[in-house]
């Protein structure tokens, strides 16, 4: 009997592989059907293209794990990009500007957290309101016009590479590693899981839930600021529409990575697969020269199928376990 329980326990630890299988199948398909998909250049492209979503996905994972959501991340990118671009173009020291960017991100996170914890406004409404307002503010600051005149040297962040490895990808990888360690090996990370699993239990276990929520949203804001700087450097300008709609891409990647929107469940190691999946899909469909409208049709279906495969594989595991 004891043996029996123990054995089951081990099997539960298996990583469910569904989404990885789906990704592998997709990569195989694109590699066969196009000649240029599996080239170092193209892989570097994909890496560069996913880095912004990837960095934000780490923060979003934390938020969703607590049972919250952050719709304001796209607009946060917008306002950081436009503010930093304005400052840089008027000659402020880039290092100072970067600092300002992080401060803006942190302050937005702080405001979000205050609304959520003290005013008790649900995260979806808080961040939706923030999303709308911040975008408006972004247009106001920029007058609706893009801002140019960012110093040349700043380009390296979003455009540079070390050998074939894009710097932006490196940053994303570092963020993921940090995120992984934080979520799995630190008390803060375990509290994030706890809050999402059962906030009351977490509170009764002596955790100051409000404080943790603050930390999380501030972290998300700062990760968003980091992503903004990369985007700004990549586009080498401050676009008032920067980041528009990114929140959906980010949330999709996270949920595709198996994080439950009701909180408490999910692994960062799978979220990175979700991020790559979205990047490969977009890139591969373009390589195939599929009509834009068809691309959308396919994208929606692939999303659903990928999650279905993932869920199926988890169920199979469960059955294996039981047998």
């Amino acid at each position: 009997m004891t043996e029996w329980i123990r054995e089951k326990g081990k099997k539960i630890e298996w990583n469910n592989m569904g989404i990885i299988i789906a990704l592998a199948a997709m990569i195989l398909f694109f590699s066969i059907s196009t000649t240029s998909f599996l080239t170092p250049n193209n892989l570097a492209n994909i890496a560069r293209q996913i880095s912004i979503v990837g960095i934000c996905a780490v923060g979003m994972t934390c938020v969703i794990l607590t049972g919250g959501i952050d719709l304001s991340i796209g607009s946060l990118i917008g306002i950081v990009v436009v503010t930093c671009a304005t400052l840089m173009s008027s000659g402020v020291n880039p290092i100072l500007v970067v600092l300002v960017g992080f401060i803006i991100g942190a302050v937005i996170g702080l405001i979000n957290a205050t609304c959520i914890t003290y005013l008790k406004i649900p995260p979806i409404i808080t961040t939706l309101g923030m999303m709308i307002s911040l975008r408006g503010a972004t247009y106001l600051i920029s007058g609706g016009m893009p801002i140019y005149g960012i110093p040349e040297g700043f380009k390296i962040l979003g455009q540079g590479s070390i050998g074939l490895v894009p710097i932006s990808m490196l940053i994303m990888v570092i963020v993921f590693i940090f995120g992984y360690i934080m979520l799995n090996k630190t008390v803060f990370g375990r509290r994030i899981y706890g809050i999402g699993g059962n906030e009351e239990t977490t509170r009764l276990s002596g955790v100051n839930v409000k404080k943790e929520i603050y930390k999380i949203y501030i972290m998300v804001g700062m990760l968003g600021a980091l992503a903004s700087l990369i985007l700004m450097s990549r586009v080498n300008s401050g676009q008032p529409s920067a980041g528009d709609g990114y929140e959906m891409d980010i949330i999709t990647a996270v949920v595709l990575g198996g994080v439950s929107v009701s909180g408490g469940e999910g692994k960062l190691s799978k979220v990175i697969v979700g991020v790559i999946f979205m990047g490969v899909l977009a890139n591969g469909m373009m390589m195939l020269n599929i009509n834009e409208y068809w691309q959308r049709v396919v994208k929606g279906i692939v999303l659903i199928v990928a999650v279905a495969v993932d869920i199926r594989s988890r169920e199979k595991k469960a059955k294996l376990k039981a047998a």
């Binding site: 009997m1 004891t2 329980i5 123990r6 089951k8 326990g9 081990k10 539960i12 630890e13 360690i181 799995n184 090996k185 630190t186 008390v187 375990r190 509290r191 899981y193 706890g194 699993g197 059962n198 009351e200 239990t201 977490t202 509170r203 009764l204 276990s205 002596g206 955790v207 100051n208 408490g264 469940e265 039981a322 047998a323």
Partner: protein
Amino acid sequence: MEQNILELKHITKLYPGVVALDDVSLGFARGEVHAIVGENGAGKSTFIKVITGAIQPTSGEVVFEGRAIEDNSPQKSMGLGITAIYQELNLLKHLSVAENIYYNRYRKKHGMIDFRGMESDASKVIARLGVKIDPKVLVKELSVGYQQLVEIAKALSQDVKVMIMDEPSAALTNNELEYLFEIVRTLKKEGMAILYISHRMEEIFELCDKVSVFRDGHYIQTMDVKDTNQEELIRLMVNRELKDTFPEFISHRGEKVLEVKHLSTELLRDVSFSAYRGERLGFAGLVGAGRTETARAVYGADRTLEGEIWIQGQRVKIQTPEDAIRHKIALIPEDRKQQGLFLNMSVKDNISFAYAPHLTNSLGIIKGKKEEEICRQQITKLTVKTPSDRQLVKNLSGGNQQKVILGKWLLMNCDILIFDEPTRGIDVGAKQEIYELINQLASQGKVVILISSELPELIGMSDRVIVMAEGRISGELEKEEINQEKILELASKAQEVSR
């Protein structure tokens, strides 16, 4: 006199429409097990939540080691050395057993959480309770009984001065209880103050030194356990005389109604039994023996791999609870919050939920007046303590929540009623009411199946007992053979066989 380690002064707690605690003052001494008893809704859980800072009292103060705790919070009280097992299971279901035990008290190695060390520590704590649970298993995979043990292990693993246990025994069988008592006695010797809440009178007399009685939010009296007896306690609690614990019942075994043949699920092996009209069939077993699993399989709540169910000589297919209800089977589930209630809905909506299709007019509209009337009847009949039928169920005390579930199923007027731990967390007075109800149902010719972990209850309330162990039936006892020793022997029998 030695100074009390913990002292509560003039605690009052108001909720909308409810006075949960009314000017309660009480102290607790080191090296004592202090029981708190009272009817459902008397304010016991509220009292301990005030101590731990889980809720803020409307007025009054908590004094620990001679100093008032200001801005009390779970964090603060834990820091001072107070820990609690709350009545509602407070576990993080998606996390492992080990992590739950050491949640927020992680041991670190190189600045990172040491999961390995945590797991081996957890195994040791669990072992003290006489069971073995893989510390790596996720809590959501465990049955309620095991979860309760994890909760206890969590409290035991802490080095504290005051330990509070709110009905820790509710889902446990004698076996685990003995281990628990053993540990509590050790802790007491080490000078810990222990608050123990239970509705099982015999536990009070076996374990505790002092007992305080609450009634309707009022503190009534504290006594030395050795100076009192069960009758007196019960009288103080319910403020009236109660007759025998287990009401008289003469069974008339009628025709065979339910027959289960060779039932197997992922956890059950070849379970076969029959149940008859007018008879109360008990199911005994240790935690995790598979009683709940059997009930759920019969009810169509879980998938079965094999097996047949016959009702009144007819083979029936039961794949969903919907099918079961059609065949007039009801299941009163053991996990109240997860499976029995809509916590955010009103008492009325909970009671009428399953019955609602019978309350509609020709247009499909629910007849509101009729509904209210029927729900009020149930509330009165079961003496559910609630300010109104519009009160949200989550604001009721545990025992009253259980009554709401009973009310819901009694309305359905089923033929076969399966009660899975129906008196879990219910006070003596209410227990008797439920026993009477069960007897009444049986004498009306219904089939009653009673799953219970409380042996005296099972013995007192069953006409026949089936004992399970490790997913199999390990024996069956007729009325005259039923006794504690026999049940325990059968319950642990299969364990040897399978090794």
